[in-house]
Symmetry: C2
């Protein structure tokens, strides 16, 4: 008699963004004339850069000719993409990362949720609160989090690291030592960053205690300030204690193309077992590579012209961020983020809960954001807006919120 | 202190096809002039059909314009693809499957290896022997198989169902009742099929005992005979006990484009828990959808012209299968498969082991195949050749083997 994975049943409700999508769909059905502006889910709106489009077209042509057709991709990604990533994202920044240490995939979300598999079920995880739900949910599914406590909105066996206004939305080193530490900087959802000296403390802490840091750097391209590290490997000793996740989704608008990569240093080991072969084994067994044409698209992002074009997109979104930040601040909201990240984190007015503010904003301004409490209890009363809308919608959304 | 998933360390060696790739790479390095013909890994060689190429180009153009740009795909796939699949692959064959029950993904390999996650770790699995390694390996990683016994080449807690010449390479209903049953027909690696009456017995067995059948129908498009079912849902009661996996890799040459889907009927439940929401939760949490352009390519496969073109590709490969089958039979080999499947299963001459024959063939004929023992102990002394080469190479490979 087959039995289900009971851990799945511990997940409260559905995945946050699926739930928001459903709520908005229902509202739109009931109010077909409402002109809804979506600044909720972190999805981009700018079209794919011309240089990337051109690379896609020529790769598609290659697939149509027997001589240039590409079947199964190499397990860990094509060499042409892995080397340009290693060179431009790491070696050029002084990080000692080789092409062999780059694992190409169909996105950071998959990698972030799959990485826990190579670790034992009895590892204890630490996450920021608020936090991108995927880190916790994937560990719930694996049975690593214990029971959910509805009173606190927390799982009993997870170490939560509150990120509050008082600490600049950056976590403190935990007193109870975890085994795996999820960090995401620039942060989703708060838009906060760690300076290099701060991140170095985490690397030192992990090295001292034998923890592995799972570092999500999906928003790296949005960093504007000089003392903010783009990669954890800018820190001394990170090759021995950290795995890094990167995405093309926000860097180059690939949310609908699906491309990302994970860095597992060859030196990184746990109890004398190297992690590189484990992750390689997972890739080889449970994954079949990102499509050739998408990997060629990724390569085009690193060309001189491609780079110029995607940087212009990032600048476009960051101007949106400035508009939201300044507009809401002027309207009296408590706001943060938005300087090195495409997310603005704001406090709901008065004693409104995050979901009350969500409904209020949807109903009164036809603007969709993400309730802070959806990212964890410490996010209660907060709200996330994204800078990924188009300019006109962003300006209009800010106007509507100011008029409330 | 972080700890690794010890189950990974139970996996003997590397993933079969990664290992073969490595062996061939090394041989080619040492023999740079050897003209190696690859009939090992089941990778296609025909270019993508013109109708699909055209769909790719226009979808790429859409991604380059703000008005037609597509960001994150719906979690479970685009409606346009899910409905055409439900209609053409199922409803047209009299199977009661709706678009909502189709989960689009980046390939059957991922789905086949991920599906075990929604089941409890203490489920006992049954697999054919020989078997596509992914079913077993993904369960080893999850800790569902017990220790590996090098003497028998088997994991202690897995029910192996031998598929031998005597039984026409079709398994017998197991005496010890498993919880999850992996079946793949047309079969990889043997090329064997089950008739509808045979498959119905499995569905009845599963219904009787509360098992779930995980049915891999990746080679469905190669079925030539009338009484062979294309889908398990052609059998009475399968909606209540079976999940089906399909792939565009072999149907339309998408090995390098990555597209597949899984059918989880809404009615299917285990201990009173429906599986549809669990698999939907996994998709929403750990996956971000197949690329828009690839889903449009998938849709084009179902257009009238697209269908004609991919059927011609299938016919091309099946002519290769005939050439291999007839050629080797004429040369005195014991061969099977190749009629409803793109795989030919042959016995190595004399008392040669599968790997001995692999080395012999590589060294003497410069032909790469797959050792049967790589698929399980019952595959020892057997060897798999694929029909996915191009015509000239296939003819040449058969000639070389005949000359041995």
């Amino acid at each position: 008699m087959a039995k289900v994975n009971q851990n799945y049943l511990r997940l409260p409700g559905s995945y946050l963004f699926s739930m928001i999508g459903e709520k908005v769909r229902r509202y739109q059905e009931q109010h077909p004339n409402a002109d809804i502006i979506r600044l909720g889910i972190g999805d981009v709106t700018q079209p794919i850069a011309p240089e990337v489009i051109q690379a896609l077209h020529s790769a598609v042509d290659e697939m149509g000719e027997a001589k240039t057709f590409h079947g199964y991709a190499p397990d860990l990604g094509y060499g042409f993409l892995r080397s340009v990533i290693a060179g431009m994202d790491y070696q050029n920044r002084g990080c000692d990362i080789s092409a062999e240490e780059i694992f190409v995939s169909d996105g950071a979300k998959c990698d972030c949720s799959n990485i826990q598999e190579i670790f034992s079920v009895d590892n204890k995880i630490a996450v920021c609160d608020p936090v991108y739900p995927v880190y916790v949910d994937s560990n719930v599914m694996a049975g690593r989090t214990g029971e959910y406590d509805p009173a606190s909105g927390r799982f009993r066996d997870v170490i939560y690291m509150p990120c509050t206004k008082e600490s600049g939305y950056v976590p403190q080193l935990p007193e109870e030592v975890p085994d795996l530490i999820y960090l995401c900087f620039p942060n989703n959802p708060t838009g906060a960053v760690m300076k290099k000296t701060q991140l170095q403390e985490w690397v030192d802490y992990a090295s001292r205690h034998g923890c592995v840091i799972l570092y999500d750097a999906a928003y790296e391209a949005y960093i504007a300030e000089a003392d903010v590290p783009h990669s954890i490997y800018e820190c001394e000793g990170a090759r021995e204690c950290a795995i890094e996740f990167r995405s093309f989704s926000k860097t180059a608008g690939f949310t609908g193309l699906r491309l990302g990569f994970t860095v597992v240093p060859k030196k990184l080991e746990v109890e004398g077992t190297k992690l590189w072969p484990l992750w390689a084994r997972r890739h080889g067994t449970k994954y079949n590579g990102a499509p050739y044409i998408i990997q060629r698209a990724g390569e085009a992002v690193y060309s001189e012209e491609g780079r110029r074009q995607v940087l212009a997109q990032v600048a476009y979104y960051m101007e949106n961020a400035r508009i939201i930040y300044d507009g809401l601040k002027a309207a009296g909201y408590e706001v943060s983020g938005g300087v090195n990240a495409p997310y603005i984190w704001l406090r709901a007015p008065g004693q409104m809960t995050s979901w009350e503010f969500f409904d209020h904003l949807l109903d009164q301004a036809h603007v969709v954001g993400t309730p802070g409490s959806g990212f964890g209890p410490a996010g209660e009363h907060y709200f996330r807006l994204t800078a990924f809308g188009d300019r006109q919608n962003t300006i209009e959304a800010v106007e509507r919120i100011r008029r409330l």
